[in-house]
Symmetry: C2
Subunit: 330 residues, 2 copies
């Protein structure tokens, strides 16, 4: 099978190298028949795409090359696109995607890193770290005591790779975890799982709330001003989903009024966030620049192992678990 | 047995209440014979101390009342002092302490909280949080990626209640932990343990270093400029011991030069730290105001359970595990 790997041209974070490819084949010897080509520029893409059966690339490249249509003319043999990002909301709606081309996301690559980031954010909030960060800038000694996580109530919205990993870490620390996802199907790390339409019923108990769902039409603006009001006073929020999943201004208002105790967010609108944006300076808000789920030391290795597992299952006639379902949106 | 509980007069953090006492007796019914009195002022202390056989109080009170000598005249029946702090370095040397009075520290109360704080600090450093805190203040979007903890090398100096708890949490996340303590006695969370005189041999491998030892003459200035130079470039430091265990200025210099990547400290000289102190503004330094090990929700309950376990062992003719050994210094 002809595989083309199109690395990003401008951004040089995490380019997939021939050495990483060779190491992945050594770990997955049943994939030895794959014939890869590598490029990072237009000429390399043009030379390879006509023959490529599988394309490995980044959301940005897929968006630039295909989102206006014309995939079949450009890439007649293409049957699979492996997009090495977790959230492909930027590519939705998927009208540009022919039915006989499978779009794979990179769900799973980010789990270990995101689980650690999510746990860190919970511990930071339990220990008032956003408050201390701001006190430090003022040179102000302002003790407040924190509490251990054990026994405290956490609601995790989204139990996919990211949210599931956070729920598992939180449960290891004795938190009482309620999960929220499309259906109320149980999850091993959760004391209970409710369907998304029951979200309002669990918010009043959420001492901690983690947003880890994909951005879809259903989740856009999910944590709005009304739902923020359902949270108990002193609630603490973590957002590793997308900035548009919560109402940013309503969150800032709730921090300023003291209804919320603190927040850690890795995602925001817009990204990159410009100087002077309200999120930078809201009391109790800690901002990280969209790095929660990406570990350069393991990213490409994990990604290739996940791709190869999908190809292995496809050879066996099974569904590829990372295939995006366009009408679901992820 | 007559027990006097002297709560702090000025500071009202964590006063031990009759309700907490009653709850602790319910958990420890074999302690029902103890007769408590409670006070927070001079008059209450004066009224009770002459008859008290056991005094429960804070470092500050012990220091103010006894450190100049005269304990026997003031408290002729006193046989045990339970000091509800972990580090009693402020009371050293212990010349004021008669041989027939046992001074108990509160080792163990702080373990769960300190373990979580230590893990949080390691995750914060792995995720460049001190750097992002400072970037946020400047309103600057400055992405850097972090890595999971698994496989990374950690040295923990001090394997008592605090350091042991951090080592256990770190090992749960797959870190390769080396412990340092008075003897090379093994510890279940550590891949290896070396004696303190071999500290220099393990520093060159320490990607992360946690200080969690008591402050004694031997540990004062332990992490000096020379030893900081033995750490690998990019090392990350956590201090939950005492500010005097490291050379603060040398640490700040090493952060400014880039030799160290970041540091989280809960302890410093002096405390409280005044505005304008260098630690507030050193790049890569994150300061918390001495709150790492104290959880108001569990503190007094844990403390009383630990005291009662010591009394139980004493009744059985055994050593009290929390008894301070004056010549050791903790």
């Amino acid at each position: 099978m002809r595989i083309h790997i199109q690395n990003p041209e401008a951004e040089s974070i995490f380019p997939l190298t021939p050495e990483q490819w060779a190491a992945a084949l050594a770990r997955n010897p049943d994939m030895a028949g794959l014939q890869p080509s590598f490029a990072h520029d237009d000429a390399g893409f043009a030379a390879a795409i006509g023959e490529a059966e599988l394309l490995i690339t980044w959301t940005k490249v897929v968006h630039a090359r295909f989102s206006q249509g014309g995939l079949k003319a450009l890439a007649p043999k293409l049957r699979t696109i492996f997009c090495t990002s977790a959230g492909l909301d930027r590519l939705a709606p998927f009208a540009w995607l022919p039915d006989d081309v499978a779009l794979l996301n990179n769900r799973g690559t980010h789990a270990a890193k995101a689980g650690e980031f999510g746990l860190m954010a919970l511990l930071m909030l339990a220990n008032h770290i956003p408050f201390f960060a701001q006190a430090q800038q003022r040179g102000e000694w302002a003790p407040r005591f924190g509490s251990v996580l054990a026994g405290r109530k956490l609601v995790v919205v989204g139990l996919g790779s990211l949210g599931g990993a956070v729920a598992e870490r939180a449960a290891q620390f004795g938190m009482v975890v309620t999960g929220v996802r499309n259906t109320a199907r149980p999850h091993p790390a959760c004391r209970q799982v409710v369907a998304q339409d029951a979200l309002d019923t669990v918010l009043p108990e959420a001492e901690f709330l983690v947003l880890a769902c994909p951005l879809t039409p259903e989740t856009t603006g999910l944590l709005d001003r009304r739902r923020l009001g359902l949270l108990p006073k002193g609630a603490k929020l973590v957002n590793i989903a997308r900035g548009a999943v919560w109402d940013q201004d309503a969150v800032c208002d709730a921090l300023e009024s003291g209804h919320l105790d603190g927040a850690v967010t890795d995602v925001m609108v817009p990204e990159p966030m410009p100087p002077g944006h309200r999120l930078w300076s809201t009391p109790g808000m800690f901002v990280t620049p969209h790095m929660s789920a990406d570990d350069p030391n393991t990213y490409n290795d994990n990604s290739l192992d996940i791709l190869f597992q999908n190809l292995r299952l496809a050879r066996q006639g099974q569904e590829m678990p990372n295939r995006v379902i366009p009408k679901r949106g992820y």
